[in-house]
Symmetry: D2
Subunit: 340 residues, 4 copies
């Protein structure tokens, strides 16, 4: 961390401020220029709060050179993390050259629906089934998900197809009914629900952490750090589009975040082209772009009857469209030296 | 709700689609043009999901004319809601011409600190004391608040000054220790934590609901609707800045939202100039602008020693600066025909 | 300017890089830490390009301490700049405690219209008449302004009311017909039209420079610097709202920019509540907020028949509404120790 | 266009308003519901201004069903437009299955530099050479480009390599020195410089139109419409990233815009991964994503010595990195059934 001081800082003031900083366990190198004094902090500054330091009356600017995340940082963990899931006879891996393709409806709506979709996405080559049973909806008057009953239907679909399951958890006590779920999803709106993250840090299942719709990538990594600091290092990061001024698409897919994250962290990075675009006809292009950009997987909404879907039908692929897309994605994966 | 159909919709298809819509309890008026057919839905469409309807293959555009919020809507509740708080001998009101000024530190740090700040803001004319004990922090390695111990210190400050208390709740089980808290704050990151909102709907205390940093005002009203739908109609809305491309200030204070909300809803609207700007020297101008724009109150960070604050020191006013500001705000309040 | 080097920079490389920097006229102080070397540049770095330096393979981060603007910087010019306009017997000042209220229609549409509006805004106390004759419109099929004929009508309105004129220039050759215009407006879309700015730097009339809809305030100050570097120091800065994800209002009025600019620059700062909100009923609240936040003036759209306006009717005040607003604004101006 | 009227509109008022609309050449279908009257406008509404109509006191909402662009609309021109450039013996095509790869430095800096880069990008398979001679720079104190002298150097590079040239025009009189330039670039800051667009509409050369950094895609298409309305239908659209809250990258590459534009318009769509990311190490991933998403080409910054570049070095590829990338891009192009 580098701290540029204001021009009128006196020697005495600088000495006192330096002493305060060193009490917190770092070594401070003072560099005096003719008009500007700069402090260079050496040591672990991940617990230092740039804003708090910036509030000191001597400080002009604070610059963080060291990244504030440690466990998620590729610098300290150069090899790719692989998330491994065993579900019956199926063994699926995400990361380290293995693509994870998660597909299924936004919401579980009925046994017929979820089993039909599960069979279809399995046939097309998906590695995981997704389905929401607790739904965060903007309006209290909209369909809120099937709740625990939906869990039973997911379990039935898993039994039928052996596909491991991904589902969103909205609060910690719901863990009681997540026995059959193989990967726990934290939704974009909960990315900074820190108590939830802390609890999931004690959990032994992989966490699929979606980026908040106005979160920076550094905030995403800090959210992963909350989970990892609790002991659970199995975190999958998910880019699902951010909110910008542009609204032809539901969100703006921030595709460059994929190669950037792959440089900064060892965690797998997947993309949700369905929420990122919000329009089914744009999903295939976005999915291909994600693989081309280096993503370790995709989470795609597929519905057997999008027009009657109780949520997000506009962005759901039909099983046929999904199957077509999977054929193309296999070739893209090969080009990138990955497999699924 | 108005639904514009695609140009190639046949009469049969339109008839079937109309029948489906009418089964959901609305009357559909069909208007056929030479190139375009338009459906006008009459009745309560607040439970209709525009996006789900937009997924139907016949639909070109969906336009919501009726606002999706009901209980928060001024149309059905023309008079201003007044939030009334009794704390010992103090009786404070927010809304309907009464300004509520909530002041105090970001975090409770010690008994000396909170009592000193409480006395100072009381002397300056504040009507409520704020102080966080459970702190949502971006980094797991930053100070996380004093927790339950902090609650005791807040209670001591209340005993000393008779100021009613405002504090942030991060998850529902924390309610157990919120006995002394008079207004429960929902932070920006929790604005769409729907389970939390539902639980607070069963609560008998007023809720101060902060706008999410990337939430539209309609989403803010829908979040209030979640609380109100549960039976708790005592909701105070709080504009605290949104995230934009501009970063000279911590957030961008969306000042126009104040008069817009005052037109659309009967709920009180307050402004947080501290988080909105993030810079103490900008807080007075932002606070005055908020009152000039019609706000029903302010929530301002005040710290007796901003340079040593454990969080948000950069944006905290000293007691002296707060006292000066209060003198000016009283004149602005008079100009707007309000009092505090 | 402070340059943090990468950890693996060797002594030789640092020496060579330092020599290159010093050839450009600055002194470089090298501060070696155990893990990090930091260079402090002393001297005039306003011509240094942070991004170009950041491209060097030794560089980890570049931090600008000195602001990149000089002529607009209050540090080197502590007193407020006052823009003075003499028009016939009228003498108007903007800045340094004097408020400038500029009012009039978006577009000049006819002699009757512009003279009626001019008389009305004069009667209400406006100090300048605005009116566009060259209109930047999103669609080539929309009304593009009256052009030179409109200039004659503006001149007629000036003759009738003695109000000095403000009008937007879209390209430099239009200066030929700007003889009667007292303040030349540069629109938001042209804020970074650098050739236009350079030409206006040779001009002897004050320039009203509107902030681009996605421009940072530093970019706004750099645009002013272009004009000032050419010799014209009479620049008025105008906040008119920025583009964000929120779209209940046409733009998002960035009110905090007003006090921030007043700290950083000596140039007058005005606000355009009409474009910032896009909704007539929100204009009065936004105008009051601007004065409360410290603005040196306002530019407000007024139309005698908003419903028939050829552009921007939705955001135009009627003469009656403008007159009411002016009564209130006078009291706000007094509170802030300003007059108009 | 559909106009929803306010609930209290009387029959007389509706009749008068309908008559006004019909005088402007459309047929109005009135659909009366019990609580809401809706007007459906049939005919050409591309010259109608939604905002002006929205200002009428009877109007609740205006919904545009027909897109406001005509010449750029794929609806009226289903086949892909191909931009064809003949330069000496070279014949290059962009669009309709042919990829155009434009490469070269941000700025022309010297004869040695531009010829070395030109030879390198030609050897790697680029189809066009780019190079700026008039540079729009944020600071008046930064390098502004070599001007006319740079044009001679570009011409020399063209003579040497036969690569057709792409360069940015900042104002219309510069056309005099653009004789050797084959495709004229309009920069992001000039996307809504309507006078410039109108003049380029009279020009016989293809125009590469970059999206403004805060422009919606519809505004981009309307800017193309300005050029096309003047008679020049050879327009190439370029996505180069938009400005958002996220700043790890220089801009946010809006990759979904590529398939969306390919659906809406027949014009070729290319991507600038250099400006979109601003970081050389992210350019290859962004370039591959663009081709995967359906782009018709790329414009990439290549510099023989990025560390000494006078602008944008941070985002420039070395000739070696560009050559490697081209090898990969060829395979991606084949996958998408395109060639270059």
């Amino acid at each position: 961390m580098i701290i540029a001081l204001k021009q009128d800082a006196s020697d005495d003031e600088i000495a006192r401020f330096t002493a305060v900083l060193e009490q917190r366990g770092v070594t401070v190198h003072v560099s005096r220029g003719t008009s500007q004094t700069v402090l260079g902090l050496v040591g672990d500054t991940s617990g230092f709060d740039s804003e708090a330091i910036g509030a000191h009356h001597l400080v002009a600017k604070v610059i963080r050179v060291q990244e504030p995340y440690k466990r998620a940082n590729r610098l300290f963990h150069p090899e790719d993390t692989r998330i491994s899931v065993q579900s019956g006879t199926e063994h699926q891996i995400i990361g380290g050259g293995m693509l994870g393709i998660i597909a299924g409806p936004c919401s579980v709506e009925s046994e017929d629906q979820i089993i039909a979709v599960a069979k279809a996405v399995k046939a097309a080559g998906a590695s995981f089934l997704r389905g929401g049973v607790f739904k965060p909806r903007t309006s209290p008057y909209s369909f809120q998900g099937m709740g625990c009953e939906g869990m039973n239907l997911l379990a039935a679909a898993k039994k039928e197809t052996a596909l491991p399951l991904v589902s969103e958890l909205m609060e910690i006590h719901q863990l009681e009914v997540f026995d059959e779920i193989d990967i726990i999803q934290v939704g974009a709106r909960n990315m900074q629900n820190y108590n939830l993250l802390k609890e999931l840090g004690k959990c032994s299942k992989p966490i699929l952490l979606k980026r908040g719709l106005a979160s920076t990538v550094t905030e995403l990594l800090m959210a992963a750090e909350y989970i990892m600091a609790g002991g659970n290092e199995q975190v999958i990061l998910c880019e699902r589009g951010i909110r910008t001024f542009e609204n032809f698409s539901r969100n703006t897919l921030d595709i460059s975040v994929v190669p950037w994250l792959k440089q900064k962290t060892h965690l797998p990075v997947i993309v949700d082209p369905s929420h990122a675009t919000g329009i089914a006809s744009l999903v295939p292009a976005a999915a291909k772009a994600a693989i081309a950009a280096g993503a370790d997987g995709l989470i795609i909404e597929v519905h057997n009857d999008p027009e009657s879907a109780l949520c997000d039908g506009e962005q759901s692929l039909t099983p046929e469209a999904f199957s077509d897309l999977m054929g193309t994605l296999k070739k893209y994966a090969e080009m990138e030296g990955k497999q699924f």
